[in-house]
Subunit: 404 residues, 2 copies
């Protein structure tokens, strides 16, 4: 989406500045302010080493306090930093509350970057004044300020990730605007990155939280870059009511959910496309499994196989590796009933190479930047799809050199 | 072990020839013959797409027929080849039985190589005469012939893998000689490669099979290169009695088991060391877990993490990635009780960076070709260790180009 097309949900302002966590003057601190207190929903990493801001955010979820400001830093994850890390969160929140003249419970914080380094709280504090000035200057809620915020939360990301959707309701338009970051440590078992979904609808907290839960399950939980689940993953969704539209009918809530899902899926797609070193976006679609959990196990085994992902990079229609991954997924398989298609090309029929399959047809699909691997187990109605990337030389280069 | 040191179990002969499955005249077909019928034990892949020779081998395990010949080809896995693949195994076995003048039930077969290509049975049959001549010529059971067989089963392996151990018993020496192949598709959840453990002891089938099961659990099941479990993995152990030593006392059986384990561990170590593109052998040792399964889950999560393995390659003492992997292993963790050491260097104490830890100390360990990452969860008595390799540019190159 080009910058001048981005629709921005009403009542939000953005800023991104360089405070000194990243080198070379690159922006590393972002602030989102909602003019009105916003209903909050969030999902967090399931990692047993949750970062200090995740611990803080979970508590906030329980407080049910509306949110007015979201502070995100890149460059340091504030993870495995112990009690000092928690104190640093509180200090940051206190200072930001005082500068913005809001209650500290109205502030949500996230961090992303290196794990285990002491959190450079004084560096972050230095950036807060500049952020507040930036917010004050963003009176028109410009897409330039939005992009500045989206850039400030990047780590190994190559591009900022912004998506938006507007839903027409009987009371007028409602907009969802989302930003996200994430390129490595992307694993399907939770929204393994940072994403912020900002909406101007007026909605009850319970409905909003249930809606986010369903949306995350169908978007951020359906992607995988490298199978690693980070300590900091967070999806935050705010609804500040600034559109003046209060949705209550089931059909209008459903329309809103569709819009929210669209934004979440776009961001999830962008994360895979920008996966560390990735050159391909591959949809792994499992159908005909005994049930949905079985389909999910098979899809995840294939999408996380180093050998399969390396074959994608090599543009090698090496379906044997896919079959092998299906076979070790831990699911009962009737191996002689399995069919596999690459896009429209039938590759495997009944567990063996399809007699009409020609290597050149498979190779042509693998040369595409995006394609679908469909695996039909022919056992039942269970299906599951997820997006994955290939495993490349650049992934190794990025992760052998970068500290995350 | 240098060639002239290799001890060879009595009563076995070896041959390796080029039949045409691999290019450039490289050996691709191996034969091991036991002069006397040998008691057989075997473990196979748990992959749900077992290759045709694995299906055949499982049946043989149930027949309890002694084994006199082992035929192994590299270059084609005879996996996902359906009914034709099974017929090809039977044809191969018939021809070999006729050439060697033994019963077809006395022949064990394995294949390794590309999955899903039709098995080139006529090519293999052409090699059988040459193999039989090679066996006839190997009257002295030379280490040269042993190495020729070990080379003929290689795929992406850089070096042949041979190990041996001699146990002194009250009745004289008993020798175990092993060969193995495997460099990719190496996953801990079974012996994900081919290994042949040849012993000249006289032993009951039940004792031999139980012994192999315990040995495999402590050796081949404790390694991981890339987390992929292949369709063809096989560990075969033969005991042909040619030493004239029949062990029955518990202490002598225990001594034999120690010798068998030593050979299995050496081969397992060689497989990790020769892991596709690997530059490091890392022992991941988890102690203090609530129980052994918990320790195993954590060890496997760390050993299979793409980010951790890439950091090893980058010689980056990035303990945050290790902590993150511990955290997503699916085990309850008291994050503030976890300690991590790199060899003798304490890196993490109580879930945070040890106050005395210096980056240069960690970096010095990571520069070594082999080191131990010890993770103490401080919860109980569960422990588990496994060997893993790093994830490198060469892994990508090998697997983007090679068909396995």
């Amino acid at each position: 989406m080009s910058e001048n097309e981005t629709k921005i949900a009403s009542g939000y302002r953005f800023a991104g500045v360089h405070c000194g966590l990243k080198a070379d003057g690159v922006a590393d601190l972002a602030l989102i302010v909602s003019e009105a207190p916003a209903v909050m929903a969030a999902t967090f990493t399931r990692n047993r080493f949750p970062a200090a801001p995740v611990v803080y955010g979970r508590r906030q979820l329980e407080l049910h306090t509306p949110v007015r400001a979201v502070l995100v830093n890149a460059g340091n994850a504030n993870a495995c930093t112990g009690r000092q890390g928690e104190i640093d969160v509180m200090t940051t929140v206190e200072v930001l509350a005082s500068v913005l003249k809001i209650d500290r419970d109205e502030i949500f914080v996230s961090s992303t970057g290196v794990i285990g380094e002491p959190f450079p709280v004084t560096t972050v504090l230095k950036g807060i004044e500049a952020l507040a000035e930036g917010i004050a200057a963003d009176t028109s809620a410009s897409s330039g300020a939005l992009e500045a915020a989206a850039r400030a939360i990047m780590t190994t990301d190559q591009v900022p990730k912004i998506a938006a959707s507007t839903v027409m309701t009987s009371q007028g338009p409602v907009t969802v605007t989302g930003i996200a970051k994430g390129a490595g440590m992307i694993h399907p078992d939770m929204a393994t990155m940072l994403a912020y979904l900002l909406c101007d609808v007026e909605i009850g907290e319970k409905e909003w939280r249930e809606m986010l839960s369903r949306v995350v399950d169908l978007s951020f939980n359906r992607i995988s870059v490298d199978g690693d689940t980070s300590t900091n993953d967070t999806v935050l969704a705010l609804a500040n009511g600034a559109s003046g539209c209060r949705l209550e009918s089931e059909s209008e809530l459903a329309a809103l959910e569709t819009g929210l899902l669209e934004v979440a899926r776009q961001l999830a797609y962008m994360i895979v496309k920008d996966g560390e070193g990735a050159t391909k976006v591959v949809t792994v679609r499992v159908v005909g499994a005994a049930d949905r959990p079985a389909a999910e196990k098979v899809a995840r085994a294939v999408a996380n196989s180093a050998l399969v992902k390396t074959a994608f990079f090599g543009q090698d229609a090496n379906w044997g590796r896919i079959v092998a991954a299906v076979g070790y997924a831990g699911v009962e398989i009737d191996s002689d009933r399995v069919n596999i298609d690459f896009d429209q090309v039938r590759v495997v029929s009944n567990g063996v190479r399809d007699p009409r399959y020609r290597e050149s047809d498979g190779a042509a699909v693998l040369k595409e930047a995006e394609f679908v691997v469909k695996i039909d187990l022919n056992q039942g109605d269970g299906d599951f799809s997820l997006l994955t990337s290939d495993l490349t030389h650049d992934y190794i280069s990025i992760n052998a050199d970068y500290r995350s």
